[in-house]
């Protein structure tokens, strides 16, 4: 079979033309079928990724701002808590003081009432004793007088005794 390694004649031109068409057809087909669609796909993804990175960065800065805000709030919360605790403590102290004071007043009242009661009972007892002494002395002196005294003498004695009794200091 005929062949060639290098030819430089009109056949070269024809072969070059054929190969030129072949090259153009192949380049066109590969560009349409593969290069362009894949590159578009890849570029679309690149854009999407870039967009996602941008979004992520925006969200990060937003989150940082929120974080700072909440940290500040937390710091304030600490201060607020301390304030509330202080107030509560003060209130509790005040309450306890009030309760103790009330209790003291109550105790004093009870004490005073008891003393008054005791005094009244004492008075009562004194009166009772006075009466009994009078009765007893009346009975005794009655018996004496009945034995050796006149009516006048008797009356005088009674009066003297009563006035004496009134001068006596009764002790507890």
């Amino acid at each position: 079979m005929e062949g060639y390694v290098i030819i430089l004649d009109q056949h070269t031109l024809v072969l070059v033309a054929i190969q030129l068409i072949n090259t153009c057809v192949l380049c066109f087909a590969l560009s349409k079928l593969l290069y362009k669609p894949v590159l578009n796909f890849v570029n679309a993804r690149k854009e999407k990724i870039a967009e996602q990175i941008d979004t992520a960065e925006a969200k990060l800065s937003e989150a940082n701002a929120l974080k700072t805000e909440y940290e500040n709030k937390l710091k304030n919360i600490d201060a607020e808590r301390m304030e509330i605790l202080d107030q509560a403590r003060a209130q509790a102290n005040e309450n306890s003081r009030q309760i103790i004071a009330d209790a003291k007043t109550e105790a004093d009242n009870i004490h005073n009432r008891a003393i008054t009661d005791i005094k009244r009972e004492e008075e009562k007892a004194k009166d009772e004793i006075k009466k009994q002494i009078i009765e007893v002395s009346t009975m005794v002196s009655g018996k004496f007088i009945a034995a050796n005294m006149t009516e006048e003498e008797q009356q005088k004695l009674v009066d003297d005794t009563i006035s004496d009794l009134e001068g006596v200091e009764w002790l507890n």
Partner: protein, 257 residues
């Protein structure tokens, strides 16, 4: 006019002092499979053209498979999606680094060129005659680069493009024109020469290995693989990158920003 099989064989034989036998089978020619006559023009459908069609069909098929799979592509890539995205992004960043962000659309063109040259260079591994081992292929690809260089130069530079040929002094106009014409020639011949050279060397190595005395047949193991690795894989990949990189650089140089 043409350099044919026997001439290559005797040329190579003289160079390395090998006693060449014209009937031996150093197979480096691009065979003409069919001759068509359309409108009085004889069109050769050579091995190069057929192999190019096979490579194109394979590449377009792969592209179609990925295109269909792309319907299921996810935001988080997995499986084959990673591979294709890696390849396309590599090409995109390659174009951007060589030509700047503004001209990233050249990736559409150079992705095809890159794929065609790379697969052509590597097709030697599968026993094909690489289409890039034919000057017609490399000349055709380089022609597109040449057109792009000057189209972009005129489109972006307007008058300054033509003024550039008279710089630094008008006397240098012929030299400037020659240097512009040398660009596509060097580009096409570099790729063509590298791939054809590798192919010829591999053909010679197979010939030599076939004629070894039986005690040395052990060299048949491993030696061709290592050489294929260098001439087809390494040189093939490097030449692809060089070709595309230089094309992009030449175009970028002419763009007046």
């Amino acid at each position: 006019m043409g350099l044919h099989l026997l001439e290559v064989k005797s040329l190579v034989g003289h160079l390395i002092g090998w006693n060449t036998d014209p009937s031996s089978d150093l197979d480096v020619e691009s065979r003409i499979i069919e001759k068509l006559h359309i409108g009085g023009i004889e069109i050769w459908i050579s091995e190069t053209v057929v192999n190019t069609w096979i490579i194109m069909a394979a590449l377009i098929l792969i592209a179609l498979i990925f295109r269909i799979k792309m319907k299921n592509y996810k935001y988080k890539p997995e499986g084959s999606q990673n591979v294709i995205e890696l390849i396309i992004e590599f090409m995109d960043s390659f174009v951007k680094s060589a030509m700047s962000e503004k001209y990233a659309y050249f990736g559409n063109w150079f992705f095809g060129v890159f794929a065609l040259i790379l697969v052509s260079n590597l097709s030697g591994l599968l026993g094909f005659r690489p289409p890039t081992a034919d000057l017609c292929t490399t000349a055709a690809i380089t022609l597109t680069t040449f057109v792009l260089i000057h189209f972009m130069g005129i489109w972006t530079g307007k008058g300054s493009y033509f003024k550039g040929y008279l710089e630094p002094i008008p006397v240098l106009l012929p030299i400037n024109i020659i240097s512009e014409l040398a660009t596509p020639i060097s580009l096409s011949f570099r790729l063509f020469g590298n791939i054809l050279g590798g192919m010829i060397i591999m053909g010679m190595v197979y010939m030599a290995l076939g004629n070894l005395p039986s005690i040395l047949k052990i060299f048949n193991i491993g030696v061709p693989a290592a050489l294929h690795l260098y001439f087809d894989v390494f040189a093939g990949c490097i030449q692809t990158v060089i070709f595309v990189m230089l094309s992009m650089t030449f175009i970028k140089d002419k763009i007046a920003d």
